[in-house]
Symmetry: C2
Subunit: 161 residues, 2 copies
DNA sequence: GTAAAATATGTGCTATTGCATCTATCATGC
DNA sequence: GCATGATAGATGCAATAGCACATATTTTAC
């Protein structure tokens, strides 16, 4: 049944589900599923892994920074961080300069856990970009960055005006 | 604080948050937020809009088809459809050929609601692809399609092996 | 034909997310 | 200095998503 799906533009225009945003969304959702299955043996979910990855890249971040980088609500980031502290993967201390901020860092256990996931994640990435030339990958990254900039601009536009 | 975020590859390799998948995820999440704010005046959420869009493109689909196209669990699609039937946007009847299947179609009200959203969605899309040449857009779509194929292949690989 | 397996859908329950709100801390104005 | 406003973070609550399972229908194996 699902095999013979064909887009029939009933309205004369281009089919909505052929739009790039639709692909983008479907792609991310499916990739997230795959990430979750790849990470399950390690006891992590994608949201956890993203937090750890951010702190691997930047070392010390606040809850707000993590929320911004992983694009979740601050409340969600707060709870994710809490749970990972309980599990021993993260450590949190109040910033000396501004005690509202928390400085979250990886513990040795967190760094080790992240390292354990590397193989699975790298494998998944390799599958994802299979058959795509280096040049195409760079091109894709460039286009995605441009889209990201546009998205942020839209948000500011909305807020400012 | 969040402004001076710089990627520092503490592990010698490429920073994880610079990986295309990370951009992809962040992009989709932010775009979804923007879609939600754009659709809020119309009383729809992105999930609703996706369902309607699929049925605008294909006319008649089952719950499973909709779940597959929008990449959500079938239970989620089932409830989304139910609620939209209650709101008068969709109609559902059992398939004559196979009564397990439901044939879901847009009502006139549903088609009209979707049409009302078009301006907002088109505007958002224009903002999203602002400054991107026609050629780049086609290129992006091509690359996304390739990624999508790879993602699906990975899933089948996982299931089959 | 009948039994067993498979598929589509719906439902109960849990986990996750997002929104509103609260507290604590800092910045700005006077 | 102090009052007001702004920001970081946490928490209560509601909506959503996902998982496990149940039911109805069809297909497959015998």
């Amino acid at each position: 049944m699902a095999n013979d799906i064909e887009t029939q533009t009933s309205n004369g225009g281009r089919s909505k589900i052929e739009a790039p945003e639709f692909y983008l969304a479907a792609l991310d959702r499916q990739n997230r599923e795959n990430m979750n299955t790849a990470l399950r043996p390690h006891g992590l979910k994608v949201a956890d892994w993203r937090i750890l990855s951010c702190l691997d890249s930047i070392r010390s971040l606040s809850v707000s920074d993590l929320a911004e980088l992983t694009v979740v609500e601050r409340s969600v980031a707060s709870r994710l961080v809490d749970r990972m502290i309980e599990r021993g993967f993260l450590r949190k201390e109040a910033s000396a300069a501004d005690r509202r901020y928390s400085e979250i860092t990886l513990t040795a256990a967190g760094a080790e856990k992240l390292r354990q996931c590397d193989a699975a994640v790298d494998d998944l990435r390799a599958q994802l970009f299979a058959g795509m030339s280096e040049k195409d990958q760079e091109n894709l990254l460039r286009l995605l960055k441009l889209l990201r900039k546009n998205v942020l601009a839209y948000q500011h536009h909305k807020i400012a005006v």
